[in-house]
């Protein structure tokens, strides 16, 4: 199941400029440490990996654990090298992947 995501990338950048990328994915990041109303443990369900690639090259990656808040927000930087497509991947603990892309025009 693809989950809703939001990505903020500048539309344009100068070559060599360091740009900031902000991402959010809708996910409850259930820790597995909570109990429901009748005392049963609510099973863990979290995003465990995030990756941003440009032209097949990994630009940034992150490993997430239960200590990351619900609807994980991740911001990082990258150098604008050329116009192209940034690809984003979020992988949950069961290996399910949500993908998104953003284009940037570099002058």
């Amino acid at each position: 199941m693809a989950r809703p995501t939001r990505i903020l990338v500048p539309k344009t950048a100068k070559k060599g400029e360091v740009i900031e990328i902000k991402t959010i994915i809708n996910h409850h990041m259930e820790t597995g440490f909570r109990r429901d109303d009748v005392g049963r443990v609510i099973p863990r369900d979290i995003i465990t990996r995030f990756r941003c690639t440009f032209g097949g090259e990994v630009v940034f990656a992150m490993e997430l654990f239960t200590g990351i808040a619900a609807n994980p927000f991740i911001a990082f930087t990258t150098v604008a090298t050329e116009s192209g497509e940034l690809a984003f991947e979020w992988e949950d603990q069961n290996g399910e992947v949500t993908r998104a892309t953003a284009t940037i025009s570099v002058a």
Partner: protein, 153 residues
């Protein structure tokens, strides 16, 4: 600004005191389990040096379920000299490792941000591993009025 001692902070403080004994169950990390996790991640003989890392966390977190954390590491981020990994550790959360960030020369700057959960007032420790394998360390204290609901309280 209003006086810091509002009814809300007083009530929050009392709740925190009342809940505190419950949250010291075995499921929760202690400074010792955090040290174990750090040894496992960094190796038994790792001796990180203090400095080069700037952690931005609120001194007082009202909503411990989502606390904004920024980390910046002083590095030129060139192919020869860059930050490879940024590791975040908690001394109180049930899982001591909070996040691992992986960077490289393509990052341009060593600057990341995310929202974390805090199971209680604590010191957050950040370690940066550089391309020359050197390790740097910094920490920041956060006071939490009500911990993140790791244990359903």
């Amino acid at each position: 600004m209003q006086s810091a001692l509002t009814r809300r902070t007083v009530v929050g403080g009392l709740v925190a005191i009342a809940v505190a004994p419950l949250s010291t169950s075995a499921a929760f990390a202690t400074p010792e389990t955090m040290s174990d996790a750090m040894r496992q991640e960094l190796g038994p003989d790792a001796r990180p040096q203090a400095g080069r890392i700037k952690i931005t966390l609120p001194e007082l977190a009202e909503n411990a379920n989502a606390v904004s954390m920024r980390i910046a590491v002083d590095s030129p981020m060139t192919a020869q000299d860059h930050v490879k990994d940024i590791l975040v550790f908690s001394e109180k959360n049930p899982v001591p490792t909070v996040a691992r960030f992986h960077l490289g020369p393509r990052s341009g700057q060593a600057r990341v941000q995310t929202n974390i959960r805090l199971a209680g007032s604590q010191t957050i420790t950040v370690v940066a591993r550089m391309s020359d394998a050197s390790l740097w360390i910094a920490s920041a204290d956060v006071i939490v009025t009500q911990g993140a609901c790791f244990d359903g309280t």
